[in-house]
Every structure is written in C-alpha cells, then in structure tokens.
Subunit: 416 residues, 2 copies
C-alpha cells in the first residue's frame, strides 16, 4: 500500500540535507545523473518496451505512442539536457538585495530553495528526468507522480537517477517517484500539506484543472493558452500574415500557439485575404471560423459560433473577428483570453503602448509570434512550465522561479 | 442581503481602470484620502463612539477597547501614514529585468499590480485605512472585511476614503468594505475565485488558521511567530542578555517577540543567571519555564512541560532549554519554530554561517533582536503583515510584495 506520509517524510529529510549542500555537490549529482542515463540506455529501452507494448495493446494513438517512446537518440538527448541544466548558473545562495540600516543592521535577502516540490504529469517519460534535474539544480527535493502509461520507463529512470544522486553523496530521496498511478495516489500528493511546499502540474487542461481544484497544497498553475493576435489598423499586413502563420501552424498543439485573430475593421479587407492565403501554405490547411464581417470578406471561412471564442483548439483551426477598435480587441482578450500570451501587430507607437498596458497576460507581444513564450526563448535555460497565475511566478518557470528567499540580518547587539 | 458577486465585479472593474492609471493619479487619490480623513475627524469620532459604547456594553477588555478607540490624535496619525504611503516610490511599471535575445527580441519583465486583494481583519479600525492605502499605492483594488466590533468606524472610514478616491478621478470601488460582519460574509470572500486574486488575513492565530483552511482563493499566510534565541558557546553573554530582554519584553504581544531561549551547555552556568537577572528589569517580571538543566542552574525557574516548546505565549513568559550543540538548537528550532524569526548570539564565524544556512525561516538573525522583523525596520516603508510562507513573498510584506509582473516582448516581425 502507498505510504504517502513516509514519502513526505523522506522528502523533508532530503530537503534538509539539500539546504546545507553546496552548488558543487548539486552539480556533481546532476553530472552523475547524466552519465548514469547514458550508461543504462539498454536498461531504459527494455523498460520502455513494456510500456510501448501495453500502449499498443490498449490502443493508444500513434501520437501518444510517439510521446511515450524512448530510443538511444532520445535518451542521449535527455542526458545532454541534464548536463546543460547542471552547467547553468547557480540560483541558490545569491544576495538578491542588501542594505545597511541606520542602526548598522545589515539586511540581506538571499535566494533559497522552496523545499519540496511535487510534480504531477502525464505520459512523457522525459518529464521524469527533466523535473528531477530542474528541482535538484535549484536545491529542492521532489516527489514525482507520472502517468500510468509510462510507469515502467519512469521506474527505471527514477532508479537510475536515485542511484546516481547517492553515488555523488546526496540523499537518493532528493528524487522520489510514486509508483502507484491510481487517482488516489495523485489525490494523496495533493493533500500532503506540511511536507510538500508547492505542487506543479505538467500536462493538459484536464490534469491542471483537477490539481487546482483538489489540491490543498499551494499550486503553481501552468495553464492553458488561448492566445490572440490583434492586427491593428496601422499594422504591416505582410508581417501580420507571417506572425499569424507562425503562431498558428508551427506547432498547433502547444499552449503558446495562437487560437484567434482580431482584425481592425479599417484594415480587414486588405489583411484578411493575405492572411488567409498565407495560412494555405500550412501542411494541413487551416480552417478559419469567422464572425459575420470576416465571412463577408472571406467567403470560404466557416461561420464561428459562440463556442469558438476563447476555445483552445490545439489544431489547425483559427477563430477570426473584425473589431472596431483596439479597445474592442482588448475587451475581447479580457473576456476570452487565459492570461497566457497575447500579441498586437502595429507600427503605431501609441497603439503599442495602449495594448501593453491594457492587456493583462503573462506575456504581451508587439510584432512577434506568441510562440516565443518559452523558458529557452526568454534565455532562462530549461523551464518546468508556463505559469498563468500572478502569485509567485508568471510566465516561463525557469530555475529562478523554483526558489524562495530568506532574510539574513547581521548585527552586533542591536535591540529595538 | 450580501451580494458578494456584485462586490467582486465592482472590484474587477476598478482593477481594470487601475491597470491603466498612472502613478500621478494613485498619489492624487492617496493625498485626497489623507486630507479627507483630517477634514472628517468629528464624523469619524462620532461613528467610533457607537463602537466604543457597544464594546463597553459587551464587556470587551480594556486592551480591546484601547485598540478600537479613535481620537483626534490617532486619526491625524492615520492620515499622516496615508500621506507617507503616498510619498513612497512607485512600485508599478518598473522594468525589473531586460534582455535582448539573439534574434533581436527585447524581453522586458515589468512590475504590475496583482489585481484584487481581499483583506480579512479584526478589531483595529486603522487597518481599514492602512490596507486601502497600501493596496491603492500598489495599483490594486481591495475588498475589506473587518471585524464586527469596529463596523461603525469602518463604515465611516470607508465612505470617506471612497469619496476621496472618486474626487481624485479614480473609481470609488478601488476600495470596498463588506458591511456584513457575519461569518458567512468572510467565507463568501474566501471563495470569490475569479474575482479576488489573493487574500491576506491580518490578525490573530485563529483568524489566520480559519482563512488558510477555508479559502479557495490563494492566501498569503501572515503567520504566528514562535521565535527562538540561541545563545552559542561563543556568545557575548551581556549581549545575549540584552537581546533576550529586548526580544521578550519590548512588546510581548507581537509575532516577532521571542518565546524561547536555547543555551549552549558550555556557557549555561554563566549565561542563564545573567539573563535571568536582566529579565527581572522588565515592568512585569518574566516567568522562565526551563528544562531540567535550566532549573538546576536557576532554582526559581518553573519546570517546563511538553506544551511549552513551540508555544507562542504573547506574554511575559519565556521557555528555556540547555542544548548540547548548535545542531541540537537547529533541530529544536526546526521542530518547534514557525519559520518566522530566529536568532543566534555568537562571536564564532563558523557558528554564524552554520546557523544562517541551517535555519529555515523568513528572518534569521546574528547578534540582533528578532523584534526587527518589520517592514519599517527593513526599510520597506509600511507593511501589510509578515509572511511565513515561501511562495510569492516571505517576511515583511511591503508595497513591492503586493505586485506581480508581466513580460513585454518587443519585436519587429520575429517568428519561431
């Protein structure tokens, strides 16, 4: 039977050792992880074959099977990314701010790990390694709870990682995998207050909503993205077409892909045909679902229904609406957006400023594809997800976002 | 009947106006608030008299009545503190970080308000004004829910504040007071997801626990403090006595007061008598509740029971224990502390470093009183509480801690 309290206690013990470990030992453990993964490729593939066999028997889609599959090339890529995480700058022990008070007290704000991070995720086994590496690099212990499809791969990976960490002198319980993939085990992790400091769901909308709803542990919501591109009356129309083409078609399944375009009425007759033409270049033709004014200009567009506004298609479909003003565009985004990534295409300085101010989202773009909302693209190195909440961290969650801080106050006898 | 959804909607409307307001208009509204308070002193005192009358009839303690009471001097002090908050540096619209990516994208991390902040508090009416001023200065709308003892004072204050804000051109709903002081109204506010972005309880342990337990809206826990002073074997004993005297007796009712002292065995015979002697200077003699070894050295100490460890007395009582090592002190603090403020007194550099590293608390002190854990003392200006959680903000919550951020990405047609 699952002893979740024991797992919580183990994590807390590991956290306390990590709190006094130095960067050198964290890097050594990460390097050991990377080498151990390369040394155990055949063992990992063997375990993965069981998952793949089960996937076939259970009739998982080809796309799902592809996500699940590990081969030598993929394992070497995973090991390489661990090494890259190891080589990033340390995020722990930095003096973020410092002041000397009039009474001589030195007040330092110093970055520290959060503590124990729980991660609930779905079928990709690389998330196991990636989450372990990111949490360890930022000085945190982690409790991983992956999906049942990848359980054999995950167990193999977790064992290899844990041995590697131990061989480098840190507690193997810095990383723990819950090998029970029942709904109960996920719920137990969501209620492990006092042991788990924060829970990060990594996966689809259903998973994230379930975690936000059921968790009593604080959650960092890594959210769905219904991203809009607003083409202003002063837009460069060719640029708008390129940005929409890229934001919609380069990877429709991800959260930073565009789901809707809003076109200013003064430019709609010029812009919409150009955009529609560009969208035909996609390997799968993009379906446009437009409001009345869009359908008037683009006779081949499908009429949009109320359900199209705010919808995350994750597919080669885009909603389209003609708006009377920038204000109307902002109003639409306010109503239907998910505070993820929103974009304006314009050459008008005032419109840029208005849009940046009015739109409340993790990432607000001027003249660039929403697809850039990504830790790597922002220069953070690896990321663990994109936060769509406002507390603690917003946007790409890099290593720095996995830390907290404490104040160190150095005196020579001051009293108040 | 309480229409909490309407209150939530009003706050969201106000938040959206605040999001595009500039610092000038926030400052103008705060100044108008300060002047309006001074102009309406007699009206406020009149309302307060009703609360005071009720307090007497309901047999509230003298201390509670004193907290509730407003007179001209106190109202002028409240107005002055609003003016001081107005004059602080703006915390909104700052570029916190900025980088130019290899593809030419300019990525700016810009400070923004959190949005709508709910505040649940108890009997002090000054919290009404203070919370309104701090949230407005940081660009947030607030929903206030104070205690029933101060309801007449709070209604008078909120009306004056709201009129002042409106006279300065911002929506009066930037500040709303829930005039229903039933438990139901507090619970309704705790479940106003989608309208309230964060809830901050301001008050005693019972209130904070109830909010943390019942709220589905994210909470910033402003916590209880069981603060320890560890006197190391290499401590300056006179300094230790001064620090303990100050941390225990300068204001025993507050969260940064010391509740326990841990004395290294090698110094206990010298240190304990000196500390005990100093504690006799207090206006109320401090009761020492010691473990066996303490009682052996201080025959007048009372024997501590298991309940004394980790207890927040808020009184002229201190627990005392002799420990064998710094590790044992850290272990005790880990077990019984509340991650608020902890202190070591020592002249040994290695012991300082060990303690700073090992102790996981919002504020860790070397050779200074724990009483300095305070926004004003840290140089933040006013504070709204002391956070004892790790997510978002830790330690004193100043204006900066009432903000979030967004990324603004400026391009010239970049696609991925």
């Amino acid at each position: 039977m699952l002893d979740i309290i024991r797992i919580g206690e183990n994590a807390v013990q590991a956290k306390r050792v990590l709190a006094i470990a130095d960067e050198h030992s964290r890097v050594a453990a990460l390097k050991a992880m990377a080498y151990a993964l390369e040394d155990n490729i055949s063992k990992i593939i063997q375990a993965n074959k069981i998952d793949m066999q089960n996937a076939k028997e259970n009739g998982l889609s080809a796309a799902m099977q592809d996500r699940l599959m590990l081969n030598e090339e993929r394992i070497r890529a995973i090991a390489k990314s661990v090494m890259e995480i190891a080589m990033q700058h340390s995020v722990i022990g930095w003096v973020i701010e410092e002041s000397i008070r009039p009474n001589g007290l030195r007040v330092q704000k110093v970055s520290v790990p959060i503590g124990v991070i729980g991660i609930i995720y779905e079928s990709r086994p690389n998330v196991t390694v990636d989450s372990a590496a990111l949490t360890l690099k930022s000085g945190n212990a982690c409790i991983l709870r992956g999906g049942k499809e990848a359980i054999n791969s995950n167990i193999a990976l977790a064992n290899i990682i844990r041995e590697a960490i131990a061989s480098a002198g840190l507690p193997r319980d810095c990383v723990q995998l819950i090998d029970d993939t029942s709904r109960e085990s996920a719920n137990a992790l969501m209620r492990l207050n006092g042991y788990v400091d924060v829970l990060i769901p990594r996966g689809g909308k259903g998973l994230i909503e379930a975690v936000c709803k059921n968790s009593t542990v604080p959650v960092i919501e890594t959210g769905a993205g219904t991203c809009h591109i607003y083409v202003d009356k002063d837009a460069d129309v060719d640029m708008a077409a390129e940005i929409i083409f890229n934001a919609k078609t380069s990877r429709p399944s991800v959260c930073n892909a565009a789901e809707a375009m809003l076109i200013h009425k003064d430019i709609a007759r010029v812009a919409l045909p150009k955009i529609a033409k560009r969208l035909k270049d996609s390997k799968v033709e993009v379906e446009i679902r437009g409001d009345e004014r869009v359908c008037e200009i683009l006779p081949h567009a499908k009429p949009a229904t109320d359900e199209d506004w705010g919808k995350e298609y994750n597919d080669y479909i885009i909603a389209a609406k003609v708006v009377d003003s920038l204000e109307e565009a902002c109003e639409h985004i306010y109503r239907y957006g998910t505070q993820h990534s929103e974009c304006i295409v314009t050459d008008n300085a005032q419109a840029k400023e208005e849009f940046l101010k009015r739109v409340d989202a993790a990432a607000v773009y001027v003249n660039a594809s929403t697809r850039f909302t990504d830790g790597g693209e922002f220069g953070f190195g690896a990321e663990i997800g994109i936060s769509t909440q406002k507390l603690h961290a917003r946007g790409p969650l890099g290593l720095k976002e996995l830390t907290s801080y404490k104040y160190q106050i150095l005196g020579d006898g001051q009293v108040r």
